[in-house]
């Protein structure tokens, strides 16, 4: 087959699939968001934005992303470098670290709920050690900080692995010669990390961050399990509009707002971590 057409033929099935199952529903959702039955309107957006919980859920979602993603990035970098240095048992460690990746986010939320609950593991441990007389209720409206911390912890535990996998693959691609040259010139391990690993890892970092940040804005099940209604987030409000209030228009508007935020952040990350032309490995 003509070598010029071949790539397009090869991506045709995926393109068709995406058009049918992503673009078409997306067009339908946008239509729903911008109409209330009669013509084009912004009423749905006005309704969701003027609801008193909207600023709170927006703030919570952004705060959570701001707290979780940097920690995950640092952890994933640390773990990826460690894995890379290992001579023996590298695969085993990698498998174990990626176990949380195979657990659904709701299950992850429930696991952490079992720890933080009033009759959970943390409470039994603390009362067993004599630190508290009777079980403390951590996940209550009186301790919003603890609720936030529990959700952040569960998210870090659950979703660091996805960044780790991408970064491990990226580090494996960096040619050994750079490190050998740096060692000859007496560069310290830290210098090698900041001057070779990080810059060479840029494309992987870009992918990992884009993926993680988008997922962070879509956080839902972990919050639902640990915070219930105590910690409103954008996705939870979307669900409430669709299923509690049966208001698909407002739910579609919320979905588009989340999409807008995700696109904005993706563009920022792509711009900040851009790889100059011709500077690939």
């Amino acid at each position: 087959m003509n070598a010029r057409i071949l790539p397009y033929v090869l991506i045709l099935p995926v393109t068709l699939f995406l058009c049918l199952f992503f673009l078409y529903p997306f067009v339908l959702v946008s239509k729903q968001a911008f109409s209330t039955g009669a013509g084009f309107t912004l009423d749905n957006f006005r309704e969701v934005v003027s609801y008193w919980k909207f600023p709170i859920s927006m703030q919570n979602t952004l705060l959570l992303a701001a707290a979780v993603v940097p920690v995950q990035l640092a952890l994933a970098l640390l773990m990826a470098t460690m894995v890379n240095k290992m001579q023996k048992g590298r695969d085993i460690v990698l498998y174990i670290w990626t176990i949380p990746l195979g657990i659904s986010d709701l299950a992850a939320g429930i696991i952490w709920l079992a720890i933080f609950e009033q009759s959970g593991f943390l409470n039994s441990m603390m009362s067993g050690l004599g630190i508290v007389d009777q079980p403390v209720n951590f996940l209550s409206y009186q301790h919003p900080g603890v609720v936030f911390l529990a959700i952040a912890l569960a998210e870090i535990w659950r979703a660091t692995a996805i960044m780790l996998v991408i970064l491990v693959a990226g580090i494996g691609l960096i040619p050994k010669e750079y490190y050998e040259a740096a060692e000859v010139f007496g560069a310290s391990p830290w210098k090698r990390f900041t001057r070779i690993t990080l810059p060479m890892l840029r494309p992987s970092l870009q992918t990992a961050l884009v993926l993680r940040v988008i997922l962070a804005f879509e956080i839902f099940a972990v919050v639902a399990a640990l915070g219930g209604t105590l910690f409103p987030v954008l996705m939870g409000e979307t669900y409430a509009y669709q299923f509690d209030l049966l208001n698909s228009g407002a739910a579609a508007a919320m979905a588009l707002i989340i999409l807008g935020i995700s696109i904005a952040f993706t563009l920022v990350i792509l711009r900040v971590l851009r790889v100059p032309k011709g500077a690939t490995i």
Partner: protein, 422 residues
Amino acid sequence: MTLRLKIAGAVSGLAVLTTVTAAQADVLFWSTQAKPVEEAQAMREQVLAGAGDTVDYQPNDAGPWLTRLNAELQAGSGSIGVLGALHGDFSAMDPESLVDLDVLGVSASSDTFNSLAQLGTDKPQYIPWMQASYIMAANKQALEYLPEGADIDALTYDQLIEWAANVHEGTGSPKFGFPAGPKGLKHRFFQGYLYPSYTNGVVRTFASPEAVTAWEKFAELWEHTNPASTNFSFLQEQLLSGDAWIVFDHTSRLAQAFNERPDDFVAFPAPAGPKGRGFMPVIAGIAIPKTAPDMDAAKDLVKYMMAPETQIATLRATSFFPVVDVELPDDLPPSVQAAGAAVAKMSSAPDANPGLLPAGLGDKGGDFNRIFVDTFERIILARQPIEAVLEDQKTRLAAIMEETGAPCWAPDAPSEGACPVE
């Protein structure tokens, strides 16, 4: 070879035919009720096994329930034969998509229920199927803390607060349990219990001075409420675990506690306020979507569900009470006996002030509930000033009432046109 092929073809053809006929005989009962596994199993084995046709009982959450139903209605053809859901689920639907059921000749013994089931039309759109209510329950250990002179079957809100305070003081931890979790039915407490008891209304009196008192009283009660209540949705769990000693919830959400340890708990009527003992019934109904594949089989199933024996079997399976006149047998499960006695005391109390389920709100039922949930979250959890919150929420409530044009329902005084928020 060809003969073999022919035989194989005939066999597979027969197999296809039999599966088709088998599928046709099945009536799909698509329900939002009796969701817990044990209840669903009891529905299948004890209630529906006696129906003429094979019934496929499939309970689901209200969201997915409605999504599939709407998909079938939009497609104009479907596999759902009979619908089972709460009054509120049906009232959110377009009555046009349900089959008129006056031809069946079955109905509930309560005229109020029957007129609610018309959903604003002049023919029944669903048939009242079973009923329940919300009651109070307590651990027997809490009884020694009852305030002096208080009768547990005729408590007032003040006595309840005092009782909860005594337990709090005596045990060192707040032991009142309230279903304020994400799936909890807290809004019904405000709509059917707190507001009627203090203001003799729900909509008209939403922001009245009496309503301010009601919220102040509830805030007092909240001082002695287990703060984990914001995670409680089925208080039978907290009764059994001991996290809560005095609780308010739906009868079927307390049933497990009474069935597992009948001697440890008591059920009693909801408390009374200055305007009487407000309480609210819950009605579930059965209906037939106009896309039902086998209309006759669906109608037979609806009739079967309304037969007195089926109603009693349903009571055993779900702890929901019959809506037709039946003689209740003596060997009912402990939860049914306890709840039945409490509901009977509540409705026959001299100061009873029964409210009705919100009606005429159409698909705004969820928004109406959200007004009360938001008011609770702002006043009680976020501690915002009561008057300001009520004034703010009042405009949203008024907007819903005007948009739907829903007239007032008891205990609000009747209105001409949309129920006004005063």
